[in-house]
């Protein structure tokens, strides 16, 4: 038993596409808003697989690369796109933009754009869960760069010391054929967790079933209030990720080759969306089914873009609002 048997596979596929098509649309409409933007293309299986293994009550924190985590938890595309465009209909009325999208009603509590900034906050969420005697597991998503920050080490040490239910999911998207983290002096990222006595596992972050299994295993332990746990989810970085200015190097994702069984080349071999489709076909889903979901997602996102374009900006004086709760 595993991902393909235990989850609503259609919904998981929808979420994979919701992330991919959202990011593509955002890149295509990149002139509509200022500032850097960070996409989750190439990492979808990590968010989707992880969320499928969690309960809704488990709080998550994320980073500036947050669209995938929110969409995986079922966030609506409309208020997210509007937020990125800086419009008043955005989930934070334009106060956040792309950097800080965190939907508390979806239990995505914080998105910090400071590398490692949300890590010790996740520690606190786990501490609260333990203080309250709840069965919640706090989940921190962060990138490979974060493990070079002191905050990571303080978080890991305190989480182990306090024995709190914190699941750390490090998304290492630095690619293959090159040092996985050129900023790391030690041999591995996951091994850093071992230095604190934290159980750790390396998983293929582009394999949704593998991520799901790893997170299922972790939460089964943590939900007994034993913790923490560390998962390094490795993916091969999407070539279009150029720092703060992603670029659709190969255009939008074309499902046809994988749905017709063609041989994939280049980065497509590592593409988690295509890998999901291939695996779904093997588990009895039809190409028509998969494409139908894609069409519905694309319509939904086109509508989100249109609504975002049409919506007004907030009045300038609203900058003075929302300082205080």
């Amino acid at each position: 038993m595993g991902f393909w048997e235990e989850t609503d596979v259609r919904e998981q596929w929808r979420r994979m596409l919701a992330i991919r098509r959202f990011e593509e649309a955002m890149i295509q409409h990149g002139d509509a808003f200022p500032g850097h933007r960070h996409v989750y293309i190439g990492q979808e299986a990590t968010a989707v697989g992880a969320v499928a293994a969690l309960d809704d009550a488990d709080p998550m924190v994320t980073t500036h690369r947050n669209h995938g985590h929110n969409l995986a938890r079922g966030a609506a595309a409309g208020p997210m796109m509007a937020e990125i465009f800086g419009k008043v209909t955005g989930f934070a009325r334009g106060k956040s933009g792309t950097f800080h999208i965190a939907l508390p009603e979806r239990n995505v509590v914080v998105a910090s754009a400071v590398v490692a900034g949300s890590l010790c906050i996740a520690l606190g969420l786990a501490l609260a869960a333990k203080c309250q005697g709840s069965r919640r597991v706090a989940v921190a998503f962060f990138g490979d760069g974060a493990v070079n920050e002191g905050t990571f080490h303080e978080t890991a040490n305190l989480a182990a010391l306090w024995d709190v239910p914190l699941l750390m999911i490090c998304e290492n998207n630095s690619g293959s054929g090159q040092p996985r983290d050129s900023g790391l002096a030690g041999p591995s990222i996951a091994g850093l967790a071992g230095a604190y006595g934290i159980p750790y596992q390396v998983v293929d972050g582009s394999d949704v079933a593998a991520v799901y299994a790893a997170v299922r295993r972790a939460v089964s332990v943590l939900r007994g209030q034993a913790g923490p746990w560390f998962i390094e989810a490795q993916t091969t970085g999407w070539p279009g990720n150029r720092g703060g200015w992603p670029h659709l190097v190969d255009g939008v994702t074309d499902l046809t080759p994988v749905l017709t069984g063609a041989t994939l080349t280049g980065w497509a071999v590592h593409d988690p969306v295509l890998k999901f489709a291939a695996a779904a076909l093997q588990h009895g889903w039809s190409a028509a089914d998969l494409q139908a979901v894609d069409r519905a997602v694309q319509e939904d996102i086109a509508q989100a873009v249109a609504q975002a374009q049409a919506a007004p900006y907030p009045p300038a004086e609203e900058a003075l609002a929302h300082v205080w709760a």
Binding site: P59, V61, F91, A92, R93, K95, S96, H100, A102, P104, V109, V110, S112, V114, G117, L119, C120, I121, A122, L123, G124, L125, A126, L127, A128, A129, C131, Q132, A138, G150, T151, E154, T155, N157, L158, L161, W162, A321, H322, V323, W324, A325
Partner: protein, 324 residues
């Protein structure tokens, strides 16, 4: 009404808050600095005091997360200079989260610091970061100066859904004062006139208040009556009380332990002056000089504010009249 030491009142207030509300947890120093008296909070409240490691950033972030998770954490950094280790969380996370979410989330956390020169602390143990924190929108800042105030303001802080900084001071620990049996919360944004006077307004907060009162007594012997006003909170700030006083006296001195440059005294004077109140002489600030704090006592005494320096400033504003 019982008379208590400030330190005793403060520690009792913390214990009372923890006894009344199981959401209150302590991270960091648990108010057991080397200059405090040992307390039994850890024994009385097992599982609610977390202070094993020296990890200011970790504690600050954990407190923010715990607050988001439904707790009411108090982080004790102990010496204020150590708050800098947690700066990212204190100034770039806690005060921003409500704003960046357009009010969807809030962070009910209290950050505690022992600010100022404690005596022979040297440059790395003597900071008064409250001016830097006042320059960071989204943080409330309270600066008690009496035992009753520390009890009342701390209650308000723990109940507040916003991040609050408790600017505490070792030099207040042995100050005594009356504390009502049922001292309730004191609202933020209400200054207190510690001593009425007609001739000159002297604004001072925290550990500067006893010095200000001493300066006022000395000037009274010279026939000059000083009105001592204690803002009690920097954010929110009660300008109206100070303005009304300066409108009466026409003379203003502000004494604060933050540095001259971009300090609390500079900010308060600006807020008063820009209202266009008629002044009889130029306002003066008595602040820590713009140098790191030296270790040797004679130099430390030279750079930090004192009753003597306040007396000199008060005499100066009274003796000078602005040519009309």
């Amino acid at each position: 009404m019982p008379r208590m030491r400030y330190l005793e009142a403060r520690n009792q207030a913390i214990a009372d808050l923890m006894a009344r509300d199981e959401r209150v947890i302590l991270l960091g120093g648990d108010f057991n600095s080397p200059f405090s008296e040992r307390n039994d909070l850890r024994q009385r409240f097992p599982g609610r005091v977390f202070d094993e490691a020296i990890s200011e950033m970790g504690y600050a972030g954990a407190a923010i997360g715990a607050a988001l998770g439904g707790m009411r954490p108090i982080v004790d950094f102990s010496t204020a200079s150590f708050m800098f280790n947690a700066w990212e969380q204190v100034v770039n996370e806690a005060p921003n989260l409500c704003y960046m979410s357009a009010g969807r989330i809030c962070v009910p956390v209290v950050f505690h610091i022992l600010a100022g020169a404690r005596g022979a602390g040297g440059a790395q143990h003597s900071h008064s970061p409250q001016s830097m924190l006042w320059n960071t929108p989204g943080l409330k800042i309270f600066v008690p100066s009496t035992p009753a105030d520390v009890v009342g303001l701390l209650q308000t802080a723990v109940a507040d859904p916003n991040p609050c900084v408790f600017v505490d001071h070792i030099r207040l620990f042995n100050e005594t004062g009356e504390v009502p049996e049922q001292q309730g919360p004191i609202p933020f944004g209400q200054a207190c006139i510690r001593r009425p006077g007609e001739d000159v307004t002297l604004v001072a907060c925290g550990a500067m208040v006893p010095q200000a009162m001493e300066a006022a007594e000395r000037l009274a012997a010279e026939g000059i009556e000083t009105e001592v006003i204690d803002p009690r909170t920097l954010v929110p700030f009660d300008l109206a009380t100070i303005l009304a006083s300066v409108e009466r006296t026409g003379r203003l001195v502000v004494a604060d332990e933050t540095h001259l440059s971009a300090g609390v005294a500079a900010e308060i004077i600006t807020r008063v002056v820009e209202q266009g109140v008629r002044l009889r002489s130029a306002p003066r600030r008595v602040a820590t000089l713009d140098v790191p704090i030296p270790y040797t006592p004679v130099e430390e005494a030279y750079v930090v504010p004192s009753a003597e320096r306040m007396v000199q400033a008060l005499r100066a504003v009274v003796q000078q009249e602005v040519a009309s």
